[in-house]
């Protein structure tokens, strides 16, 4: 058993901390995974804006590769998660489109396994079981869990949790001993997909979200999305700057792993300062 690991393009680039920390956590917990060999881009965030069929066929290639390995496909990236699940859903519910896509790829797809997010995998492992592995409690760290869009919407296929009132990430994070603050904007969109094309707009969205987190007492934001992380990290212009961590970075820290191995040293907003101040790193 185990999982086929699909990092996606961002995790090989701007979000390399997420790749590092994800692998570190999986290794530490003893969850088996193999990187999907010769994986290709899932098309996010362009294909679905250009061609409905291409938006399915690009992720489909990866779904098929994983099915050939007979493993469920798992990805830390939420954009990939959304595209992979969207394609999986379309291939199973739209026979006409499925025929077109699968003929082009010269392969078949049964869709035995649903593509998963790394959070699904950690959740399958069990929050309690994760908690048992924690060696360094992140006590007094006040965290705002930020879900963003792609894990929760559209609920038709991206259904990691309740789209309006999710709570799974909080449960995971609280196993580390950190306190998840209750704040209302954890599903609000940060506008990451417009980060390059409409930067001004995105700055105002990111700043607002970070401000709201700060107003509810958070000292940092934790997310599972490389786009959200990059966007909130780069685009926040508020008075209080909050570091933005990946879930896997905080978990890794709580497992007692080296901050450097988790990529904590390469954030835009200093990620180490807070941790040092709290004597957590």
């Amino acid at each position: 058993m185990g999982y086929a690991y699909y990092p996606g393009c961002s995790l090989h680039g701007t979000a390399k901390e997420y790749d590092m920390s994800s692998r570190a956590c999986l290794d530490f917990l003893g969850i088996e995974y193999r990187e999907l060999p010769d994986w290709s881009c899932c098309g996010a965030s362009s294909a679905h804006s250009v061609d409905h069929t291409l938006a399915v066929s690009l992720p489909a290639r990866n779904l098929i590769l994983a099915e050939q390995m007979n493993l469920p496909l798992m990805t830390p990236c939420t954009a990939c998660y959304s595209r992979l699940r969207g394609a999986h859903h379309a291939l199973r519910s739209d026979p006409g489109l499925a025929r077109k896509v699968l003929t082009a790829l010269g392969s078949e797809y049964k869709g035995r396994y649903e593509p998963l997010s790394i959070l699904d995998v950690l959740y399958q492992y069990g929050p309690e079981a994760v908690g048992e592995k924690v060696t360094k409690k992140l006590k007094e760290l006040k965290v705002a869990c930020y879900y963003g869009c792609l894990l929760l919407r559209p609920p038709e296929y991206a259904d990691f949790d309740d789209p309006e009132n999710p709570g799974k990430m909080e449960r995971l994070v609280e196993t580390t001993g950190a306190r998840a603050v209750d704040w209302p904007h954890r599903t609000e969109c940060c506008g990451a997909s417009l980060s390059l094309s409409d930067t001004k707009l995105v700055v105002s969205l990111a700043t607002f979200i970070v401000d709201m987190a700060a107003r509810h007492g958070a000292e940092c934001i934790v997310t599972a999305c490389p786009m959200c992380q990059a966007n909130l990290d780069m685009r926040q212009r508020g008075r209080t700057k909050l570091p933005v961590y990946y879930v896997t970075e905080l978990l890794g820290l709580a497992f007692g792993l080296e901050p450097k191995r988790l990529g904590l040293t390469t954030h835009m907003v200093n990620a180490m300062g807070l941790l040092r101040a709290k004597q957590l790193a």
Binding site: G13, T14, A15, S40, S45, S46, L54, L105, S193, L196
Partner: protein
């Protein structure tokens, strides 16, 4: 404001009424085209505005999402396809999730973008440039190299200096690496080729995509 615009651009309109009769033949085929590209149930909308109310970026839209839906319902295809709103949509699906009528508003926006690209409607040059560069990279390497994506996009959109500092820092951190192709890139290209013969395809824009051409075109 909108009415004035109509007056100026379409002088033949009688007085300042939007003549719906002229669009009678258009609304059904256009709505069907939108639904075929994934904009589910667009005709079911009853204009409650919940999509616009929850939209994180609607404050920056001259035309609100529900108004674009209305344009589709009335067959005002030119206005819908030229509306900057469709390129402002961040694709967060908040609207789709909350729509009481099951309209996939984000899907409608994305369908309108597909149609706009296929019909060569040039409203949002930046967005178009971005998608072109993005897909051309997949076609070339099989994966996206963010470094090349950003560089090419900045060139294409002639916005070279924005985020320069960020880019430099990332480069130093090893986050922006030079590109490397994957083995299955041929199979991937066939996905694009498969589309090439088709009538509607934004991908027709892609073959022969070169930076210089881009700059002229954009």
């Amino acid at each position: 404001m909108c009415l004035l615009k109509i007056l100026k651009t379409k002088g033949k309109r009688r007085m300042n009424y939007l003549n719906l009769s002229r669009h009678e033949g258009e609304w059904l085929p256009f709505a069907q085209a939108v639904e075929a590209e994934g904009g589910k149930k667009v005709l079911s909308c009853y204009q409650c505005g919940k999509c616009s109310a929850g939209c994180p970026v609607s404050f920056a839209m001259e035309e609100q999402p529900h108004q674009v839906i209305r344009m589709v319902q009335l067959g005002l295809s030119d206005r819908a396809l030229n509306s900057p709103t469709i390129w402002r949509c961040a694709g967060c699906f908040t609207c789709t999730t909350r729509c009481p009528r099951g309209v996939d508003i984000a899907g409608v926006m994305s369908a309108l973008r597909v149609i706009a690209l296929a019909r060569n409607v040039r409203t949002s040059r930046r967005a178009q440039a971005f998608h072109k560069v993005f897909l051309s990279l997949i076609k070339r390497y099989g994966r996206i190299n963010e470094f090349e994506l950003v560089v090419r996009y900045k060139l294409a959109s002639m916005n070279l200096f924005q985020d320069l500092d960020l880019g430099l820092r990332m480069f130093m951190q090893g986050k922006l690496k030079p590109p490397r192709g994957i083995a299955g890139v041929r199979q991937l290209r066939s996905l694009f080729r498969h589309e090439k013969g088709g009538k509607r395809s934004g991908l027709r824009l892609l073959p022969g995509l070169q930076l210089t051409r881009h700059r002229e075109g954009v």
